[in-house]
Symmetry: C2
């Protein structure tokens, strides 16, 4: 079993969907990644920054999931990063209403000593210079480095992003971002071009249309589970990434066959995340529920055809 | 092995994509369905109508694939149905430039005697009154009746369409059409509502995002094969339906497990259809190519996870 280090935002979100709206609730990429990865019973830690307004009870909740929060810097005079968004009726698109960077604006990540020997490093969506700083603080290269990013960094800090992308093993981005980064419409061609930028593994997230894993001419696809209701898509991509890297860390096996399973586990966990507002569903999830839904994934995708 | 009867258009298409354009070439739903189903070595026949301008060589080509064309009425004084369309750059959307119904405007389908005992009936996308007329001409209900339709008939002849939908076993429509027909955004809920209209099986086609099969609380998903290039999507949905029903006819097995395989075979054949303009690729397809691509489908979708 490997030790997992997660870098990313720990934040407040205020979310509006066609089904309701929330006040400021717990959010952030590292939060979702951590909660998802914690399902595999691994040792993990988060590196992030919050303000003096961040409730201790949230940290306690993360600790109760065996997530080490000693790498979450608390700036007593500052305020926690805050994002507010409103989803459209189809839940596939949203408007960002507020982005208050607050303490995130001058975040200098510090990797605690006990995590400089991590085996798995998950670089959540953040400024590429923060991601690079963490990579440089780890003397022995981890077994696997996974990076998530978004179009905002491609638009504004492309050179720095490309430097980070050179140094990682797996990139997870959505289909539109893969097209933007590569300049190719076909996702097959996009993945090939992104391979050449550095990552040996390219994971393309297509939301309700599933996810693709590309590696060395091979491709694997996991659908999203068709759901009666999607309540709140916030954090689904991070939950997917957390399930992916959490499963790999728990098995300590980065073969392509095992990455297929990791993609399925990631999709499986993301299907829970969207059932309630924010992190609520991920905080209250049993192994029995996860196993039952894995059974649904098998029934959804597995068939028997003899090849001639 | 079952006998398959196909009702649908046999037509001329003129197609423009970002990669080029064609003059009038062979097209039509029944043509694509027939060519796709013919890959399974079954007895099939087409019921349709063409004008005096329809080349004998096209009929000969269909006959060479063991497709009976005696049910294709030739109206010497009339002109063949003509459709012309232009695809946008993403190939997911298109503008219809010309729709000349011609001989299709007053089509009265006549089921030849030799097909009144068909085991499988595929009602291609056509006016629901034509589809109903064919159902009524078959004295003994076929083992399976599959219907394809589109939003045009929902907009203009909904009552007649709903009468036909009551009488069939399987409906194949795309995701937007499923939403329109049911009034539900969630495809799971849409399928449930459509079940209650009659069909025990609901197949929802999502184009490049694959296809879903719903039956009695079960759901199966087949992705579209990720392709480097999609050249011309025309006929892909009909090719999918033809592969689906052709495989079922060839195996004479309409269990849910076998329908899963039929969905995979349909997706497999559709992945060839889009590689060249019109029917070209489907006219020249080897069993070896089909088997090789089935292997790709297995690698794309199959995984091993032990359930606890």
């Amino acid at each position: 079993m490997g030790k997992l280090l997660i870098v990313g935002t720990v934040a407040f979100d205020a979310i509006e969907t066609p089904f309701g709206k929330t006040d400021k609730i717990l959010g952030g990429a590292a939060t979702y990644i951590g909660l998802s990865a914690s399902q595999f019973g691994i040792d993990s830690g988060i590196i992030s920054v919050v303000g003096g307004d961040f409730p201790q009870e949230y940290l306690n909740m993360l600790n109760s999931k065996h997530i080490d929060t000693s790498g979450i810097e608390i700036k007593p005079e500052g305020k926690t990063f805050f994002w507010s968004g409103k989803y459209h009726n189809d839940l596939n698109t949203r408007d960002t209403l507020i982005t208050d960077l607050n303490v995130l604006a001058d975040f200098n990540p510090v990797v605690p000593d006990k995590f400089t020997d991590c085996d798995f490093l998950m670089l959540g969506n953040l400024h590429p210079s923060v991601q690079m700083s963490v990579i440089k603080q780890i003397p022995k290269r981890p077994k696997l480095v996974v990076l998530d990013t978004m179009n905002f960094w491609m638009d504004n800090t492309l050179e720095e992003l490309l430097e980070v992308i050179k140094k990682i093993d797996v990139i997870t981005i959505n289909d539109e971002e893969a097209r933007q980064l590569s300049g190719e419409y076909s996702l097959v061609k996009a993945a090939e071009k992104i391979h050449r930028m550095g990552p040996k593994y390219v994971v393309i997230k297509k939301g309700e249309h599933g996810a693709l894993l590309f590696h060395d001419g091979n491709v694997f696809f996991a659908p999203a589970l068709p759901l009666e209701e999607v309540f709140d898509p916030t954090g689904a991509g991070d939950t997917f990434a957390g399930g992916f890297v959490g499963y790999l860390a728990s098995t300590y096996d980065i073969s392509f066959e095992n990455m297929k399973r990791a993609i399925i586990f990631g999709s499986n966990l993301a299907s829970f995340c969207v059932e309630k507002f924010g992190t609520e569903r991920m905080e209250n999830l049993s192994q029995r529920e996860i196993q039952n839904r894995l059974k649904q994934f098998k029934e959804l995708t597995q068939f028997e055809i003899e090849l001639n």
